[in-house]
Subunit: 320 residues, 2 copies
C-alpha cells in the first residue's frame, strides 16, 4: 500500500463493526482510518454518561477489549459492582472497575462543557489509538425500541431485557436536531476518503441512527468515494446481537438480501458494493438487481487474520 | 439506661463529629440516636453526587470507615482511580472502588427524583445502621470558602488545595431557600429529643451551614431540650481538619473560648452547656461569662472507649 493512500471512512456500531474496524486499522497506514460511530445507544446511568459503541471501538482498537465476553475490558475487576450488589443497587448494566474510569473521565469532561468529538479524540490518543474515532454527532440522540405494547430505551431493551421483547419499530429521539460530526463532514467535503465502508453492524439500531442524521446519507452518496457494505447477516444468522431476531419480528427476510433491501429502500443510491458471505453466494443476483455491485467473500471474523483478510478484500475493491 | 430513654439529636459534620456520634450510638438504645448532618460540602464530581459528611457518618456508624486514613472505607481497593490516573483524569478527590458504589447508588436515586432523606435512610439500613442519619436539607447548599483574592468551592479548598489558602470568610449558596430536614423538625416539634448535642465539628464549614438554614437554630433554641456543644478546639489545636488554621486566619482566638464566642455571637441563647477538655479548664470562667454552663471532661477520642466515655458524660448532663 503506497504512502499516498487516502483515508478510509468506516461507519460502525459496536462489536461487529469494531471487528472490521480493527482489520481496517491493521491494513491501512497509521492514522488513515476514520470511524463514524453510533451514539444512539448512549445513556446516563447512575450519573455517568455511557457511550457503549464508542467504548467498544476504543477498547477494540487499543486491544483492550474482552473478546470472549464481547463487551468491556480484558483484565477487568468488579469491586464496584460487587459492592453495589451488596447495596441492592442497579447492576443490570455491568460496569467493570477499569471501564468505570472511562465513564468517569468522559462524564467529567461533558459536564464541564467539552465536546464529545474532543473527548473521544483525547481518550483514543490516551489509549494509544492512531485511528480516528468520531461520535456521529454532538447532540443527544436516543434510540427507543418499540416493542409490543411498550417502548423501551435501547439499553433497557438490549441489556436489561436481553433483547427478549418482540420489536415493532425504532425511533431516534433528537435526531432531527442532530448535525453530523463536523470532522467527518469536512472530510467528505474535502474528498479526503478513498472509500466508505459500512461495517457489519445492526442495520436498525447501529447504522440507521447514523444515516438518519439529516443530510448525512446524502453527503455520503454525493461524495465520489464508493460506499461498500458488509452484510451483518450470514447464512440467515446475525453473527452477534439481535439483528436476525429483529428482522424476523419485523417480517423482513432474515438474509443478506433482506439487509440489502433495507438499505435500497431507505437510502436509495447509497450502497455501491454489497459484500456478502460465500455461504450466501446464491443471493448475489437478486441483490445485484437492487442496483448494487455484489462481492462474495469469506466474511466471518473469528480471529485477527480473518479481520485483516476481510479488510483487505474491502479495501482492494476501491484501491485498484 | 431505661427503655423509655427519649431520642437524642446530634448535629455533625464529618470525621470529628462522627466519632462522637459513634460513641452516642453505642451509649443509647438502638434507634435512639438521630444525627443531623452537613451537606454543604456535597458536590457533583465526574457526574456523581458526593455527600462526604453523610458518607463519613454512614461508614463510621457501620464500622466500615478507614480510621487511620480519616476518610473513606477500610478494606478499600483503588482499581478505578489507578485506571483514571492512566487516562490523566481528575484524581485529586480519591474515590475508592467500594466508596464509588455508594456514590453511584445515591446518584442513581437522585437522578430519578428520590429525596436525600429517603436515600440516606435506605443506605443506612442497607449498611445495618440503627441510628438515623438526616441530611440537613433537600435543597442544594454549597459552601464557598473565600480566600485572599479568590473564592473556592469547598472540596477544592479542602481536598485539592489541602486547606492551603488563607481564608477570609465563608458563604453557603442556596441556604436562603433551604428548609431544614422535615424529620428532625417534626422531632423538635414533638419534643422527641431529650437532648441536642453539637458534635466537635468545624464551626465554620460543618456546623454553620446547618444552623444557618433559616429557622433551624431558633427551633433548636426554642425546644425545651438542652443543647450541649463539645469544643472542636482542644489546647489551642483542632484534633482534625482546618478549624484552628481558619480561626487564626480569621483573627479569632484559637481556643475553646474563641469557639464559644463564635456560637454566643451567632446563635445567642442556643448553647446551654459547653463541654471543654480538661486541658482547657482555665478557660471555664470566661466561657461561663458568655452565659453557658461549662463542663470540663476528657474530650480526646482516640479509641472506641474514649468515644463511649465522652458520649456518656454528655448524655449524663441531661439524663440526670
Amino acid at each position: 500500500m503506497s504512502a499516498v493512500t487516502k483515508a478510509v471512512l468506516a461507519i460502525s456500531g459496536g462489536v461487529g463493526g469494531a471487528k472490521l474496524a480493527l482489520g481496517l486499522a491493521d491494513s491501512l497506514p497509521p492514522g488513515k482510518l476514520h470511524v463514524l460511530v453510533n451514539t444512539g445507544d448512549d445513556f446516563r446511568h447512575m450519573g455517568l454518561h455511557i457511550s457503549p459503541d464508542i467504548d467498544t471501538l476504543l477498547y477494540t482498537l487499543s486491544e483492550r477489549s474482552n473478546a470472549l465476553q464481547g463487551w468491556g475490558l480484558a483484565d477487568e475487576s468488579w469491586n464496584v459492582m460487587e459492592t453495589l450488589e451488596g447495596l441492592d443497587g442497579d447492576t443490570w448494566f455491568r460496569l467493570g472497575d477499569r471501564d468505570l474510569a472511562t465513564h468517569l473521565w468522559r462524564t467529567g469532561r461533558i459536564d464541564r462543557g467539552d465536546k464529545l468529538l474532543q473527548i473521544t479524540g483525547q481518550l483514543a490518543r490516551q489509549m494509544g489509538i492512531e485511528s480516528h474515532i468520531h461520535p456521529m454527532c454532538e447532540e443527544p440522540v436516543r434510540t427507543t425500541v418499540h416493542c409490543e405494547g411498550r417502548d423501551l430505551p435501547f439499553q433497557q431493551y438490549f441489556v436489561k431485557e436481553q433483547c427478549g421483547p418482540a420489536v415493532t419499530g425504532f425511533s431516534f429521539e433528537g435526531i432531527a436536531q442532530a448535525r453530523p460530526n463536523e470532522q467527518v463532514m469536512a472530510g467528505l467535503n474535502d474528498r479526503s476518503f478513498s472509500s466508505i465502508v459500512v461495517c457489519p453492524s445492526n442495520p436498525f439500531v447501529s447504522i440507521d441512527p447514523i444515516l438518519q442524521i439529516p443530510a448525512l446519507w446524502q453527503a455520503l452518496r454525493d461524495n465520489q468515494a464508493p460506499v461498500m457494505l458488509v452484510s451483518p447477516i450470514v447464512a440467515g444468522m446475525a453473527i452477534k446481537g439481535p439483528a436476525a431476531k429483529m428482522m424476523a419480528e419485523l417480517g423482513v427476510p432474515v438474509t443478506a438480501l433482506g439487509v440489502a433491501q433495507h438499505y435500497a429502500n431507505r437510502y436509495p443510491g447509497l450502497i455501491d458494493v454489497f459484500v456478502i458471505d460465500v455461504s450466501d453466494a446464491t443471493l448475489a443476483p437478486e441483490i445485484a438487481s437492487l442496483g448494487m455491485e455484489v462481492t462474495v467473500a469469506p466474511t466471518l471474523m473469528r480471529n485477527r487474520q480473518d479481520k485483516q483478510r476481510l479488510a483487505k478484500i474491502v479495501l482492494d475493491l476501491v484501491l485498484v
